[in-house]
Amino acid sequence: MTITGSVGFESKLRTLEEAAGEVADGATIALGGLSMNAVPMAFVRELARRKVRDLTVVAIVHGMPLEWLVAAGCVRKVVSGLVSLEGFGLAPRFRAAVQSGEVAIEEYSEHTLICRLQAAGYGLPFVPTKAGLGTDMLALHPETTREEVDETTGEAYVECTALPVDVAIVHADAADTRGNVRVDPKLVWMDSELVKAAARVIVTVERILPERAFRAAPERTTYPRFAVDTVVEAPWGAYPTSSYPTYGYDGAFFEAYQRAHADPATAASFWEERIAGPETHAAFLDANGGPETLLRIARRPT
């Protein structure tokens, strides 16, 4: 497909399908957002549809995207601090896959995982923290969370070794075709640490703005174009999670998802009809109520 970017500059704009093709089998990917918020779900759905294999998925605190990738058989290992659907309950596919040994989990706490990503982003062998001391988590992987004692103060601490990421995927409000990205109104989650730790960065956005919009308000730019490799326009691209403050998460989707997983047959038809089956992102939104659903979750005019 041909997309016209700013005159004279190479456009980084790609379709969801093209961008998902950048993730190779066996890659380590990191997913932005947190729990019910700002997850690049349109991209995750496309990865699931492509049946990418043997992924290591870095997911600090997540639920639904791991459900979809596990259901599609994409995942070899999850590197995470917490996986659940929160008030909607445990994550059923993930839980079954870990209990059966189909998917491995490399378990961290939220902050030790952030420290590992920061070490990768800063080019350091490790970042120290007091997080995790006295818990069983450290001994699960003493090679990546090493307990040490500071010689000067005698204080115990943990060395969190660098966690390199092949591809980070984050969702934001707006980008230009050169790769400048704006999280609006402000970056609250830990996406910036994923962006800095990753060799390649893919950003899905609610809308494309002209470059002059970024030059007119440079204080609002979150990621510079040299840190971003690929931009995908994906309106409602975080659905069924939220994209604050434009729209909230769709609680009805999460409820229906959990209800469907009471029984393998209804889980399979839910998966086909409402998640993996629809050919395009727009068809996926339609399969989940289309405009009626979107109006219900909208928080401000888009």
Partner: protein, 260 residues
Amino acid sequence: MSAATIDELMVVTLARAFTNETRAFNGAVSFVPVCAYLLARRTHAPELVWAASSLAVDADPKSIPESTLSDGLWDGASMLSNSAYDFWSYAQGRRYNTFAFRGAQMDAYGNVNNTTIGPYASPKVRLPGGGGMADLGCMIPLIFLWSTTHDPRTFVEKLDFRSGIGWGDGGDHRARLGLPGGPQLCVTNLCVFDFDPDSKRMRIRSVHPGVTVEQVVEATGFELAPSPGGVPETDAPTDEELRVLREEVDPTGARLREFR
């Protein structure tokens, strides 16, 4: 005003432990403490700081959504923090001083398990994971625990996995690790525990109306430290506390998600 239900009694009891010096935040599935922070702020502790989802400082939501980590909780905030730079820095720098967590299992020292039931390598039940509790248990001096399922499966002698540290192995273990403070209270659906100042084991501070000490002992899978001076009944909520909780803090009853 109708009599307090158990969820209301737990919220009010926890709220009364918070003060104008409380600077708190919350994690996932934390309906009881979120209600307690909001209730305390609307009653006796107007200066209390609460960051919704650990990010939205001074949020004042009209109701509480299905996720306590979601932006549905952020209305009215005076600041949206950045997690990596604002939240984790203020947590480690002790600007924040209060955190509440729960686990599928808890032991006598207030350590919690939210990772696996059964052996780690071949779990009977894979739970969500420790999330931030392994971190914040190390960073925050005033830790509060709660449980809506006070039984011997929850309150166990030995955790299947220690996801978050309370008083560790007891005694001065936290101090030896260089960690501040430790667990203060554990509010359950049967009673309130506090911790013996020396051994750091749980002991009964009060029992809820209609509950006996014997019932608590039977429902607890480890030996409790003695309670000096006897065990009173947990103070009842006032009509005003119940009104504020029911009408202003949690009109949709989100806290009941923890009592299913």
